[in-house]
Amino acid sequence: MSDINAFDRPYEPTFKDYFDLLKPRVMSLVVFTALVGLLVAPTGVNPVLGFVAILFIAIGAGASGALNMWWDADIDAVMSRTAKRPIPSGRVTEGEALGVGVALSGLSVMMLALAANLLAAALLAFTIFFYAVVYSMWLKRATPQNIVIGGAAGAFPPMIGWVVATGSVSVEAWLMFALIFLWTPPHFWALALFMKDDYHKSGVPMLTVTHGHDATRKHIFVYAVLLAVFAIAMAFSSIGGPIFLITAVILNARFCWGCWGIFKRTTEAAKADEYKTEKHVFRQSLWYTLLHFAALLGDAALRSAGLWDGWL
């Protein structure tokens, strides 16, 4: 084995193959929500330290994505949505994904502690643990509530951004957390509906598999209503404001209407038009978080310009 050719493999992974382990699209949402969490906080942050903090929050999120791909490689190979990921497509080995995940987890937590504070770093470490261990290893294959509880992992970044700026967790940080936490189930269940047999084949007990499509449709609508009530109420908090209120009213009305459409449909009707409504609501849900957090940023800009001073 001393020959250098012992390292020969059918495909030599590129840098991009390793980068794809970090789930770049998820990372972009993490960057945005963490940045909003940081910018809406009442205390300012040195721009360089703020940039470094956001960078390593994103890398930490990416590391948890790599650990998830390592653990779920068998599931990913079966599902058409994930079959092209680096491990199931044979571009990267499981061991490499584990190595990248562990190394970047350690680096990101350490660097966040240096750039910001220990609480932010501890929250990032917990987020990685929650996504890789609590969600991927414990919940995903065990319960149909996997996505409900696991959604917390995606909800932590704005809270970490807030903690980077303020050094503590406050009500506002929990509000941003709760917005993503409540949004996650209807978002993923809409996806699960039109993913047809993917979850069934892989043995993941998604709600669509364990309780059927009709129960999932009902759950989507109930969560959409809960989310709407929460999001509109959030407009009256100290981080809310007129822009958030208008945004929340419009987006939640549209989202609830879309989810009502899902609730009223039968699986036969959905199959007939190839899950048109479900796909539409899923796409809408992607914009939902983005625009709500952009609205928070808008209200923060109004406050800092002295154009808005709260509801009372």
Partner: protein
């Protein structure tokens, strides 16, 4: 046979280049962070006051 550039270097060029750039970026990030941290420790900051008190006996309250 030993060659200066083995064929494996060519195959791994993209990866090595990416890792090299990432490491260079990390160095810049750490350096930028250090400069930002040091520049926030200006006169009157708590850390600076504590340091001066510990080494400068002429500062009121400093060690004699």
């Amino acid at each position: 046979m030993i060659r200066a550039t083995h064929e494996i270097h060519e195959r791994r060029k993209s990866r090595n280049f990416g890792v090299g750039l990432s490491l260079a970026a990390l160095i810049i990030v750490v350096m930028g962070m250090t400069v930002a941290k040091v520049s926030t420790i200006g006169p009157g900051s708590e850390l600076n006051d504590a340091y001066r008190l510990s080494v400068d006996p002429t500062v009121p309250g400093g060690s004699e």
